[in-house]
């Protein structure tokens, strides 16, 4: 902390002094200045971070912590000053500027939930007021959330349960592992359903679930973890094609725009924050014990030895043959530990007359609940904005991040903690000092051996952007953005050499795999906008926008593996006895042109027409350019004269409707007919050598084109009750056609990959409702509540003649994508034990929840104490409890199976089938054929419905009187946040909210997956 304060002081002294040297003020002669203070009308408290701009110019500044703002270089004459702040009604006034003089203009803002004047920058051409938006763009007030809820430490937490229609699912409870984000369901079968992500207009590489994702040990890390949430001002989410058209042929899964904090140009201030967090986490889960009977089948001698007084097995020693014994290796060896997290964050924000800057430093460290699980991030960001005159602004940002994730082995992984602990057998326990499985699954692999595995993903990321806004005329604006996302991953997976045989085969001689992934992604973007007013009293307005966007992505993946080391310290790949390596590289480039025409009437009726044309290097040779149109309208009904009579009841009402199209591009090289390099061995003259061979890989498709997503959405935004209640309701209907499907070929054709073809149709429909209410708004007590929920009806409409496929999550027309299937049980005859099942796989449970909702509430006491809580829920979906399946039917270590008193006979028949020797476990209903539990999964695809107490937070703004002894401290907040406090569910496993393969679509499987931990974080935040 001491260092941080000193550093902050140095920056504070240097930056304001240095910048004017570069940006000489002589440029700004013959202009005037406007300054003033912005306060809350009711409390007269200053309002920080209000946006203040002059219409028709590039000038925009923000207020400082004292509510002060300063606009310089304002051209003489009449100027309209507009003030915007989330949660307040917009304010504006027209002033007359005199060259060389400073005008004072103060504003008082009234609290309001009306969002009509809010400006969004995503999903449209240029900045746009919400009132003109045809399709909904949701906003997350990130800065506010981060400052008040200490458990929010990453972008995914900012998105989780905040916006109806966005589903975030964790892959595991391990620190640093990835999350899956889905917006309005899923439409692609074989392509990613992850949304596109932009940071300050620059495309951000975040793709999960493909070969480039750094992941080790059965888990993957999350590239979004590179972003420090303290740097983020807000997040805008474009949910579907109706709004995402202008993002082109890869945006059908939605777009997330992350907007980082900007400097406070015009504020003539410098404010710092220093944040110190300390947190703990608790697994709050007792893993189930393993059971076995003290008997070795078909081996009387071994059984006798097992139960003998001198048995090496302490559990069966002196027991009767067949005694049921239990063991819990994870608990016995104390595998789970209490996790901890620390976070130090410093930000500096300020600006001079014509420039602003934002600087941040962050060091976050989280220790997970299993040994060798750690996430650490060091992040730095500097954003500068420069306003040389009223026609030009330049924003430049640079973010540098180094994050490091060390992961334990887990999930579908024979080296995992949970695999080792939950699949072991008590019969392998021994206490005579001889190395053995000792109750763990597979080989001599206990906590020490699993902990010794070293899995590490280290990311070095540089995010850079420069945006220039040039307004040569009040009616002509230009925005030019260039940016880069440069990512370097270093991945280590190391099995130490050991004499115990802890791992498998030659791996015990030591094995080191080093992977280096490089991603270079560039964005070049131009947008011009021409605005004209016409008609009587300028009641009509047109906005014509034209632009182009180029993106380029290069992924390079190089790995080296070495096996066999003399010592564990000497473990570089070069030191290994056997070495190998490999490399893959992909390129993808796209170019898109866009145009949009918006017609406005009386600033309350708007119509938009738009078109984007795309070409992409991954389209087939014969594929045409991809045309994506959109049309929409917005009508602020409440501002119509005829509505005046209702204004007491409804403060504002806006109707909106939009229709648009976007796409999802195929992967690089997907259109080509290809062979795969595959070596062959040939023996000639007694010597065997290896030659370079080739085998058929993919038949290709030269007509390959993107998926096309078409969506319409209709809805309304309304405020009631003196603008203390805001309701947003949206119905969406998204249809994806030309779905890119890897059409399954008959394996006998000999191709190793199925070709992508454009067939099939998927629909997603649903309602999204968000209700915000300021229930009580008083000086000493305020209470607001938010309710958000969405429904989802996802359906595979057509597979283009392809036979349904998938044996667990299946793709069948008329059903949800990836619906869980089973040969469903038709009848159980308790008397005979015969269990009759369907002849074919039938839809059983949904893969995607059909209802998601959240309820959050904030109570503010005496303006200084804030208490918040959030409940969220997902309903009507299934989770494949593969952990229980394995424990009960494969390795058989569950007491449910071994202790016949635990379950009823009916339930045992349902789970395990007919136990009668010589009889099939399950009999098919019509053809009488036998089948196995591998296909009768009724008992193991379990309902995942849950309600979770996700967050509780309490924060205290320390009164000024208490701070007088702390020199230069302007404010101090102490917060306590808790996460995952309780869950209500019928799911039989550890946690229904997990996807053991979150990077892969349509596999909602809980297989030896670490559940989400309970977290508590204490934060102290200082403002200087």
């Amino acid at each position: 902390m001491h260092l941080s304060v000193r550093m902050a002081g140095a920056v504070r002294r240097f930056v304001p002094g240095a910048l004017p040297v570069f940006f000489a003020s002589s440029l700004f002669a013959q202009t005037g200045t406007v300054s003033g203070k912005i306060v809350d009308r009711a409390s007269s408290q200053p309002i920080a971070d209000a946006r203040v701009f002059v219409t028709g110019t590039a000038l925009e500044v923000s207020s400082n912590a004292q509510g002060d703002y300063r606009l310089v270089n304002v051209r003489p004459g009449r100027a309209q000053i507009v003030v915007l702040r989330l949660g307040y009604r917009a304010a504006q006034d027209t002033v007359t500027i005199v060259a060389g003089q400073t005008l004072t203009k103060d504003f008082q803002l009234s609290q309001s939930l009306t969002t009509l004047a809010d400006v969004v920058i995503t999903g449209t051409a240029g900045n746009q007021e919400r009132r003109a938006q045809a399709a909904q763009v949701a906003s997350v007030p990130s800065a506010e959330l981060v400052s008040t809820i200490p458990t929010v430490k990453d972008v995914n937490s900012l998105l989780q349960s905040r916006i109806p229609g966005i589903a975030v699912s964790a892959s595991s409870g391990s620190a640093g592992t990835n999350r899956q984000i889905r917006i309005r369901g899923a439409a692609s079968i074989n392509l990613s359903n992850e949304p596109l992500i932009f940071v300050d207009g620059v495309k951000f590489f975040s793709t999960t679930g493909n070969a480039m994702t750094p992941g080790v040990g059965g888990q993957t890390t999350d590239l979004l973890n590179s972003l420090n949430p303290d740097e983020i001002e807000s997040i805008e989410v474009v949910k579907g094609p109706a709004a995402a058209t202008l993002y082109g042929a890869d945006a059908s899964a939605g777009v997330i725009q992350i907007i980082t904090k900007k400097g406070r140009a015009g504020s003539s201030s410098f404010n710092q924050t220093l944040q110190v967090d300390y947190g703990v986490s608790d697994q709050q889960w007792t893993p189930p014990s393993n059971y076995a009977r003290c008997i070795i089948p078909n081996n009387a001698a071994a059984t006798a030895a097992l139960v003998a007084p001198n048995s090496t097995n302490p559990l069966c020693r002196n027991q009767t043959v067949g005694t049921l014994v239990s063991d819990n290796p994870l608990v016995r060896e104390g595998a789970f530990q209490k996790g901890s997290e620390t976070n130090f964050a410093w930000t500096g924000r300020g600006g001079g007359q014509s420039y602003g800057y934002f600087l941040s430093l962050n060091n976050q460290r989280t220790l997970g609940n299993l040994p060798n699980n750690e996430f650490q991030r060091q992040a730095y960001r500097s954003n500068f904005n420069f306003l040389p005159d009223s026609r030009l602004t330049i924003d430049a940002g640079l973010g540098l991040t180094k994050d490091n994730t060390q992961l334990p082995d887990n999930d579908n992984n024979v080296y995992g903690f949970l695999g080792g602990g939950l699949l072991g057998t008590p019969l392998s326990r021994r206490d005579d000092g001889v190395l053995s499985n000792d109750g763990w699954f597979g080989f001599a692999r206990q906590v020490k051996a699993i902990t010794a595995l070293h899995n590490e993903v280290q990311n070095y990321r540089t995010l850079a952007n420069v945006t220039a806004n040039y307004v040569p005329k009040a009616w002509f604006t230009n925005r030019f953005t260039v940016g880069a996302d440069l990512l370097r991953n270093e991945i280590t997976r190391f099995f130490p050499r050991n004499a115990e045989g802890s791992y498998q085969g030659a791996v015990n001689t030591g094995n080191n795999t080093q992977t280096r992934i490089g991603v270079d992604q560039f964005t070049l973007d131009y947008l011009g906008n021409l605005r004209r007013e016409f008609g009587r009293d300028a009641q009509w307005e047109t906005n014509l926008s034209l632009g182009a966007q180029l993106t380029s992505n290069r992924n390079d993946n190089t790995f080296a593996n070495g096996q066999g080391f003399a010592t564990n310290a000497n473990n570089s790949v070069t030191s290994a006895a056997t070495r190998t390596g490999g490399q893959t590289r992909t390129f993808q480039r796209s170019i898109g042109y866009l145009g949009q025409l918006q017609l406005g009437h009386l600033n309350r009726r708007f119509v938009q027409l738009g078109l984007r044309v795309d070409k992409n290097s991954s389209f087939g040779e014969n594929s045409e350019a991809f045309f994506l149109p959109k049309i929409g309208g917005s009508w602020v009904v409440s501002e119509e004269p005829f509505f005046a009579g209702l204004s007491n009841l409804i403060g504002s009402l806006r109707l909106r409707a939009a229709w648009g199209q976007t796409g999802r591009s195929p992967n690089p090289g997907a259109s080509l007919q290809t062979f795969q390099a595959s070596p062959y061995a040939i023996t000639q003259g007694g010597a065997t050598s290896v030659g370079a061979g080739a085998i058929p890989l993919n038949p290709g498709n030269d007509s390959l084109k993107p998926e096309r997503g078409t969506e319409y959405e209709v809805g309304f935004d309304a405020t009631f009750w003196n603008e203390r209640m805001n309701l947003e309701v949206t119905y969406f209907n998204k249809t994806s056609t030309d779905v890119l499907l890897q059409r399954p070929l008959a394996p006998s054709l000999g191709f190793q990959q199925n070709p992508f073809v454009n067939i099939g149709e998927v629909s997603n429909t649903g309602f999204e409702v968000a209700l915000i209410s300021q229930l009580i708004r008083g000086p000493k007590f305020a209470w607001d509540a938010r309710v958000g929920f969405n429904t989802l009806d996802n359906k595979l409409v057509d597979l283009g003649g392809v036979a349904p496929f998938g044996t667990l999550n299946r793709f069948t027309p008329g059903e949800q994508l990836g619906v869980f299937v089973s040969k469903r049980i038709r009848n159980i005859n308790e008397a005979t034990g015969v269990v009759t099942v369907a002849d074919t796989l039938e839809a059983y449970r949904n893969y995607l929840p059909t209802f998601e909702g959240n309820l959050s509430s904030n109570v503010t006491l005496f303006r200084n104490v804030r208490i918040s809580a959030m409940l969220d829920t997902k309903q009507d979906f299934g989770v494949y409890n593969l952990t229980d399946f394995f424990r009960e039917t494969q390795v058989v270590t569950s007491n449910r199976r071994l202790d016949t008193t635990v379950l009823s006979r009916l339930e045992r028949l349902r789970r395990y089938g007919n136990p009668t020797a010589g009889r099939p476990a399950f009999v098919q209903e019509k053809n009488g054929a036998a089948t196995t539990v591998n296909e009768v999964r009724d008992a193991y695809v379990q309902p995942g419905d849950f309600i979770r107490l996700r967050e509780v937070a309490v924060s205290l703004n320390v009164p000024d009187a208490w701070l007088r002894s702390l020199r230069r401290v302007n404010g101090m907040t102490i917060s306590l946040g808790m996460q995952n406090l309780a869950i209500w569910t019928d799911y039989e496993g550890a946690d229904p909210e997990l996807l053991s393969s979150a990077g892969v679509d349509f596999t909602r499987t809980d297989f030896l997956t670490q559940p989400n931990p309970r977290r508590a974080v204490l934060r102290v935040n200082f403002n200087f």
Binding site: L423, Q563, L672, G693, P696, A803, V891
Partner: protein, 416 residues
């Protein structure tokens, strides 16, 4: 700054113009991860394709042997994969993903890639070594499909093929192997002659499996004395799945193969290590004592494909008790056993002949074919109705062969 302001529109305009004109070049990218088909010359690269097809069969061969060893009682499934335990219980479902991914995909790749070479318009087709090589492995692929699967299919050019019975598959195998004999012989090189002899041994087996004993005997006679051809495997850390010995891989890396109790015998032909003689452990602890195979003790261990010894067994099976007894005793003597002293009726002798063959060709993938041909003379098969050796599983079923996977039947319109 004024300069910047003036320059900006020009920069923007230039960028837009450049992007418009440079569009076609900008979108041209390399894809070095795969071989673009347009860069290959089918005629010039035929030898490469044929050798690749040969390796495809070599890789498939290891999978076929391992799975049939579980199904036919040579080995126990010492791991936890439900799909592999289905093989151990002789209850393999068409939906079994291991059946498709490990067995069917690999044997059909070997067959399809061999057929691709045969369909090329090559010079000197009648004596082209690439044709001979492709034909012999197409033949062996069809032969093994016929031995292990209840039915099968062979792709026709670019279209999937029709449903084929075991006899039809064997006929296809004979046709391919005949081509290999003809072309290999015409080629005349050492490779050509080798291929012709491999094909003769294979055709003898195909005829025998189809019940054509005379043809089988004729081909068996034509196999040169002491002839043996084995696949030599390579220990390449990065290519063990393709170039390494599969049975050692699943012994060492996965702990999947445990010698069945019936084969834990003292016979030099069945090489194994008992617990205490090795440090490996089975993946599934409920396997019990782990007897690992030692016939293939490394990634480079060769696997026999064709031999005069097999031809001798084939010939003997087509003959009577005296010839069969002679071979039985010769093999017993060669392996330190006393002469056969059991019943001398034809059925008993035939059973003993297959016993000796099972020992000689232990873990070589012959037993399932033998069982399908002579179900009453192949012993030590898992017994239907008997409990599986692991707790919690259904009893052993009565399967005699593998179904064609659902992945094929769902996507092959000609199969339905």
């Amino acid at each position: 700054m004024t300069t910047i302001r003036r320059a900006l529109p020009r920069i923007v305009g230039a960028a837009l113009l450049a992007s418009a004109f440079a569009c076609s070049d900008f979108l041209e990218v390399d894809n070095p991860n795969v071989i673009d088909a347009s860069t290959l010359d089918p005629s010039q690269d035929a030898a490469t394709f044929a050798l690749s097809a040969q390796q495809n069969f070599a890789a498939a061969y290891g999978w076929m042997i391992m799975y049939s060893s579980w199904f036919s009682g040579e080995a126990l499934v010492a791991e936890t994969f439900p799909t592999r335990n289905e093989f151990g219980r002789r209850e393999v479902l068409a939906q079994n993903t291991s059946l498709n991914g490990d067995v069917w995909v690999n044997i059909t790749l070997a067959l399809a890639s061999s057929r691709t070479v045969l369909q090329l318009d090559l010079p000197n087709k009648a004596s082209n070594i690439a044709v001979a090589r492709a034909a012999v492995w197409a033949g062996y692929s069809a032969l093994h499909m016929a031995m292990d699967f209840c039915e099968g299919t062979i792709a026709q050019a670019t279209e999937p093929g029709p449903r084929l019975t075991t006899v039809q598959l064997l006929d296809s195998a004979v046709a391919y192997l005949s081509t290999a004999i003809t072309v290999g012989t015409a080629n005349g090189t050492a490779d050509g002659i080798l291929i012709a002899n491999i094909a003769r041994a294979g055709r003898a087996r195909a005829h025998l499996q189809a019940g054509r004993k005379a043809e089988a005997a004729t081909d068996a006679d034509a196999v040169p004395a002491n002839f043996t051809f084995s696949f030599n495997y390579v220990d390449d850390l990065a290519q063990r799945n393709r170039l390494g010995n599969r049975l050692w891989q699943f012994t060492l890396d996965r702990g999947s193969i445990s010698i069945a109790p019936a084969y834990r015998v003292t016979d030099p032909r069945v090489k194994y290590k008992a617990p205490g003689q090795h440090t490996l452990t089975p993946q599934d602890a409920s396997t019990g004592p782990f007897f690992i195979q030692d016939k293939y003790p490394s990634f480079t261990a060769a696997i026999r494909v064709a031999s005069k010894l097999e031809a001798d067994y084939i010939k003997a099976e087509t003959q009577g008790v005296p010839e069969q007894t002679a071979l039985i005793n010769a093999r017993r003597a060669a392996n330190g056993l006393s002469a056969y002293s059991g019943p001398t009726d034809a059925n008993s002798v035939l059973t003993e002949l297959l016993n000796q063959k099972a020992l000689d060709f232990y873990l070589e993938g012959r037993r399932l074919g033998d069982f399908r041909r002579l179900p009453n003379n192949v012993t030590n098969m898992p017994i239907p109705g008997a409990p599986y050796f692991k707790p919690g599983f259904s009893a052993i079923s009565n399967g005699t062969c593998y179904p064609v996977p659902i992945n094929e039947t769902d996507n092959n319109p000609n199969f339905r």
